[in-house]
Symmetry: C2
Amino acid sequence: MTPDEFRRHGYATVDWIASYLERVESFPVLSAVMPGALRAALPAAPPEDGEPYEAILADVERLILPGITHWQSPNFFAYFSANASPPAMLAELVSAGLGVQGMLWATSPACTELETHVLDWLADALGLPEAFTSRGTGGGVIQDTASSATLCALLAARDRATDGAATERGLAAGLTAYASTQAHSSVEKAVGIAGLGRAHLRLIEVDDTFAMRPAALDDALRADRAAGRTPCFVAATIGTTSSTAMDPLPAIVEICRRHGVWLHVDAALAGNAAICPEFRQFQDGVAGADSYCVNPHKWLLTNFDCDAFYVADRGALLRALSILPEYLRNQATEAGAVIDYRDWQVPLGRRFRALKLWFVMRSYGLAGLRQHIRHHVELARRFADWVRADARFEIVAPVALNLVCFRLRGDDAPNERLLAALTDSGQAFLTHTRLAGRYVLRLAVGATYTTDRHVEAVWDRIRECATALQP
Amino acid sequence: MTPDEFRRHGYATVDWIASYLERVESFPVLSAVMPGALRAALPAAPPEDGEPYEAILADVERLILPGITHWQSPNFFAYFSANASPPAMLAELVSAGLGVQGMLWATSPACTELETHVLDWLADALGLPEAFTSRGTGGGVIQDTASSATLCALLAARDRATDGAATERGLAAGLTAYASTQAHSSVEKAVGIAGLGRAHLRLIEVDDTFAMRPAALDDALRADRAAGRTPCFVAATIGTTSSTAMDPLPAIVEICRRHGVWLHVDAALAGNAAICPEFRQFQDGVAGADSYCVNPHKWLLTNFDCDAFYVADRGALLRALSILPEYLRNQATEAGAVIDYRDWQVPLGRRFRALKLWFVMRSYGLAGLRQHIRHHVELARRFADWVRADARFEIVAPVALNLVCFRLRGDDAPNERLLAALTDSGQAFLTHTRLAGRYVLRLAVGATYTTDRHVEAVWDRIRECATALQP
């Protein structure tokens, strides 16, 4: 493909995406294809000779589209959103066009410096402590996901607790980690990966808002210490996946400090809301944390993958993850004047992901991003009011931000049927969770193009389905 | 940005990339900016109000470009290449436009099924064993990098050796891992992350082609067993980073089988060449491996990130990495009829990366991909012939594929000056390594647009620099 052919095919691809965005609302949100349907339509072997680009793009429409669950549909209310935006999409194209691999500062200084810079911008915009910026003792780095951020935080914590022995000489038995029963599954996964053993993750009980009970954390830490174990890592969640519960940071900070344990704050979804001063109180106390992560790819218009991971002491992270083989030695690194982000993550190579956060922050401005968050919070609150006003339903967790956890009063079975009916209609996609043992529907408002009429329509549909189920 | 504005800005972005590709050869390959130069040119805070897209794209040209090390330049001969291609760039745009997150089959069936399908295509095209395909007991998954593939392989190996105890109950002391002294640094990093302790990675000595000595591996395994330790993981490298040395797989397979140890084959670079039958002999014996990885993002025209990771027994990988929280439960998963790739990797979320491999395999066809590999191998061999014919130089490692390791005879210092002179000229970018204690220059031919005249020009330049240094 020559540059001129690239122009032609590039325009066609841009047109296709524009058309997709124009049509996205018209598709069933959750793909209805059967397992194996796409594979059955694909040839068993790749072609021997090249095919025209037009044929490939046509197959995206013909073969791929039916198998898409439309995360960008304004009727996507499932999980937490993975919100894309046009500037972020184009930044991703620029990143692919430049094709740089930013493992070292030297392998593209702009890739590293833009990342440091926009992560400082974001830290300041979210009201995060100075220590988390490059002006302080720590700094930020883009990870693919909060799962990877949690793993990196745990590795740094594991090393700090063992004075580097865990990485160098191997794990001794008796290291323990802590998170609430509502923490994300990635905490358990990381504890397994890092060799502590999933059985050594203590799941701390929660209160009736599904937030961690600090006294129970303190008890668990004391019990492990008394038994000769070494607590090394606490994960507090600001905005749990099931219900956006907010663990009480100030009390947890005090406990972690007293026990000398690393505190990681997982604010993957809710941290984005801190861009609005009025939603910042949820993370009061974050200055006492050792690490923190937030996913702009969830709710700040930056397409997946973009997790912003911050540490207060970059030295701890580097000690756990640095290796410098001869073939990566270079002047800039040896001089110590630059950041080499390969030492801040598990993989060696890395894409130029800072571009999309830069494009987004400049395209929308802080005011635009705040408006985006406020609108979604307002929509969720309005939806919650409607639910509260309908005696058939109950709200089962505080509506802190953009997620409403609700259910039909009574047994689980009608709720399961309600969710299935909604999803099967194709008109909206919600998912469920369990809270206090009960089956609960989740409505998360976070897709880029979701606005009033979509939330109104899904509520109408929910009521219709409920009436059909319980006439 | 409305769909129409997206069209307009999208065309402008496509034009900019086409123009970049037309000009890429004209830039100094290694960025010459000083540390901090970009950051000094950026405002200290993000804008309060949004800025026009034109201004942002203009800043890519004005501010970002000087800080780019041009991995896509035909004069990029450093490290191993990260080759992009126009179809892969456009596929990345489609992926960003669809904005799906493929953690589960249900969250976009096409994302999962296309990945399974193209990884089968690739396995067949590379002559990999049936067990590595979805038709067998294993299968393939796209990871970001070979580092992550190695980590996942090690976690599966660690679990198999301990019957799941390492992940569930925590690591017991005494697990050991093995790789040659020439293996990639990611093996040591993974051994540290997984909690074995870097000190428990045995670096096996190499022969005079820098390939692992099987007898030394056998000795190390026996010694650890005799000392009561539990060997669990051997990483063999097909094409080491320093010199593309090829560890002798058949002998290593036999040893691993005898000791009951997991064998991972890291063919990140060289595995791509197996698409040509005449280069496939390097991985003879791979059918005896437990896992394998190759990076199409290095040398198969698919832009970073795209590592194809294969396992012979998917059960072992799943046991090490699966967790199913309530909020991810769904019909398709419960029915067991689908793949959920979140259980095949460290992160939970995942981009739609299979698109780019599909676009590339269809755009070039197998014939086009073979031609690409053959051309680069031919260029490297021609370069090696020129080096051999110049008495001032020596070739210091076998030229197996597209990498030539060479040096000026004698001391290291002139070689260091030669590399600095070449790089400072901006006309080409090579990197170095150390082999048998000596400083060595590496010329890796792998950039998409590198052709005869670029290799001729860099050789002319090398000779000129050598003459200037040693008149």
